[in-house]
């Protein structure tokens, strides 16, 4: 296969051409955990698909809701978080220079605390003491130490995040008057978003769930805990998405042999995400009592505002594609598309992610549409939706990133063989997701519930129809899941190959040269105090009155129900 774009020309003005070796070790440690979690989580997904389709029965020692918890926790929380920190640590080392020993040590402390939390949680889930799914809604109650495990996980990521922020501020101190490279800027915005978002989940776990699970208090305010969870739960999805956007803005332009369309718009988009992805959690609670219609509508408006930076991103990225393709001699209204490196998985996998983000985002607009949410709330539609967003757009971008990030860190070559495996992997994933997510969306409209084990509801006709459709059939979901599992197995092999088997050599860490408008980027975009201040004001505006009402007009609290999950 001829693939001229496989050699990336280094851009010499970057601080470091390579990730410093000691920083690479820290990044790689995160990669290992991420991919182990990935393969176990993916296998659990296959089991779920087969069980729901009525194709297999689980052995008595394994519960459906237990494997559902494993799947959600390992893929949505563990894989994403570890991969993101691997990418951010490597990227800041590459663009801001190697980390000092002290800062790197903080990064390792964060890694170990997060990992201890992960192992403790995994142990309790295996014992069947924490089958509460990754949302752990009260008053279902897991083993008390499960909440300790969650705390360790979050605290560990804060410490790791602090290391990235410290590295950024050190760079700022020694490079006064210089504009932060785009990667460092975006990494900082992402970590700030993560820390503000986690305040909600930390509040409910530390002040509500731990005292309640350990018996220090006997009642919990259920609505408040759900609200604090969703204060965290929506920016969580942006914590997954922003690193994927970083790869699109900073790495992809280099991979296709061009440079970013606009620096200031990229930074503005990240500021808007920081502002508008947090005060929007009620759009996950549109169907529940105790929150007034007015405040639901206010947060619906704020939710829709966050679409603006996504539209900006779409414009910037496709602007970059067109600008690059035309510079290479492309012409016509659309025929310039032929100049893009379609056979390079480092471009193609994220590109498929971008394409899938169009239906994914459209579905998201439907979900957030106030009263329209009643049609799809908690149905399989929602599961189909987030398998397109995080399960395709984000993860395909992460896969595409792996193909250069892992060999770069392990000192191996990105080979044409690996490229072919990657292309196959991308197609398998996309096809599997078409069947699985497509049928999930349509079955959701027919009312099929999410998070529910195999059932025909005593052979009710409505439920039997979900096993009967040409496409709207649990068996279609299972077929999609089987194709996805093959794709996951191939990705795991690619990870092994890139880590231990590929020929030794060099693979470039692609960083785009600054966009031509970089010198005119307003300084205010890097005024974090200002943006954090505005974010805080928006959060206070969207949440103060409804949360005050939840506390003052609270019903009697609820005891814990730990016997229901066995």
């Amino acid at each position: 296969m001829k693939n001229t774009t496989l050699t990336v020309n280094e851009y010499t003005l970057d601080t470091n051409v390579k990730v410093a070796p000691k920083d690479a070790a820290l990044s790689l440690a995160h990669i290992y955990v991420a991919f182990i979690a990935f393969i176990i989580g993916a296998l659990m997904g296959l089991l779920q698909g087969l069980v729901r389709g009525g194709l297999i029965e689980l052995p008595s020692w394994l519960g459906y809701y237990q494997i559902l918890t494993v799947h959600g926790v390992l893929l949505a929380l563990v894989f994403t978080t570890y991969f993101i920190f691997a990418f951010l640590f490597a990227g800041v080392s590459r663009t801001l220079g190697g980390m000092s020993n002290g800062i790197r040590r903080v990064g390792w402390i964060g890694f170990w605390i997060t990992t201890i939390g992960t192992l403790l949680a995994a142990w309790l889930i295996l014992l069947g003491k924490a089958s509460v799914l990754y949302t752990f809604y009260a008053p279902l109650q897991a083993h008390p130490f499960y909440y300790i495990a969650l705390t360790l996980f979050i605290v560990g990521t804060w410490i790791a995040g602090a290391a990235i922020l410290a590295h950024y501020f050190c760079w700022k101190k020694t490079n006064k008057e210089q504009k932060t490279p785009l990667f460092g800027y975006m990494a900082t915005a992402t970590i700030i978003l993560w820390i503000i978002a986690c305040l909600g989940v930390a509040a409910t776990v530390l002040f509500q769930m731990i005292p309640w699970a350990f018996g220090l208090t006997d009642k919990i305010n259920v609505l408040l805990s759900r609200t604090l969870f969703w204060y965290f739960g929506h920016p969580l999805v942006y914590f997954w998405l922003l690193p994927a956007y970083m790869a699109w803005y900073v790495c992809i332009p280099k991979i296709i042999g061009g440079k970013l369309f606009s620096d200031s718009l990229a930074r503005l988009a990240f500021v808007l995400f920081l502002l508008f992805s947090i005060p929007v959690g009620f759009h996950h609670q549109l169907m529940e009592a105790g929150v007034s219609e007015f405040w639901k509508f206010v947060q619906t408006i704020l939710t829709f505002t966050v679409i603006v930076p996504s539209l900006m991103t779409a414009f910037s990225i496709f602007g970059t594609f067109e600008q690059t393709a035309r510079a290479k001699g492309g012409s016509g209204v659309l025929s310039w598309l032929g100049k893009l490196p379609w056979n390079d998985v480092r471009f193609f996998a994220p590109f498929m992610g971008m394409v899938i983000f169009i239906p994914a985002g459209t579905g998201g607009v439907i979900n957030a549409s106030h009263q329209m949410n009643a049609v799809i709330h908690n149905t399989l539609w929602v599961v189909g939706h987030f398998h397109l967003t995080v399960g395709s757009t984000v993860i395909l971008t992460f896969f595409g990133t792996s193909y250069w990030l892992i060999p770069h860190l392990t000192g191996r070559k990105f080979t044409p063989f690996l490229n072919r495996l990657g292309m196959l992997q991308t197609w398998l994933w996309t096809i599997g997701m078409f069947f699985m997510s497509g049928s999930m969306h349509l079955m959701g409209i027919l009312g099929a519930p999410r998070r529910t084990a195999y059932t025909t509801y005593q052979n009710h006709a409505t439920a039997l129809a979900w096993f009967d459709g040409m496409f709207t059939n649990y068996v279609t979901v299972a077929i999609g899941a089987a194709i996805l599992t093959i794709a996951a197995g191939l990705m795991f092999y690619n990870f092994i190959y890139m880590t231990w088997l590929a020929p030794k050599g060099e693979t470039a860490f692609p960083i785009s040269e600054p966009a031509s408008d970089t010198s005119t980027t307003p300084k205010i975009l890097e005024n974090w105090k200002l943006w954090i201040g505005i974010a805080a004001l928006l959060i206070l505006f969207a949440y103060t009155i409804p949360v005050y009402n939840m506390i003052v007009h609270a019903p009697p609290g609820s005891p814990g129900f730990n016997y229901l999950i066995n």
Binding site: G290, T452, Q458
Partner: protein
Amino acid sequence: MHLHRYEKIWLAFGIGSLVVFLTLLGITAFGFGHHPPSHMAIVNSQNLRNEAPFNKPGLQQIDKTTYQANIIAMAFAFSPNKIEVPVGSTVRFNVSSADVVHSFTIPKTNVNFMVTPGHVNMAEHTFTEPGTYLVLCNEYCGSGHHSMQMAIEVK
């Protein structure tokens, strides 16, 4: 900061559609009263069976064609597990939970809302077609979640 002319057009189109869209949502919500279920009444979930109207779960006739169904959601059933109404009836579902979080969901209708302990939630539906309607819980509520259901007979 410079905005490309096409970007201005693109963003104007995008933001413009959002404004139109939100205006329509707002008009249907506040003009026609078409809101998501957001009832504000509170109850004691641990004492639900002794509090009216949940001390007598079941159907209450309001007028000729209107009923209120007072229903308790619990792990892993609804009480009552069956109600019967004539075709053309409008039923106001008034549901609360005796334990954990559930949902009250009638597939193929717009009745689909969360039932959180301590709160009462409501939705209304007019049954114009006869048949046995399935009601299910679509919020995970424990190991028997998938068996939680009830029926609405419309004759």
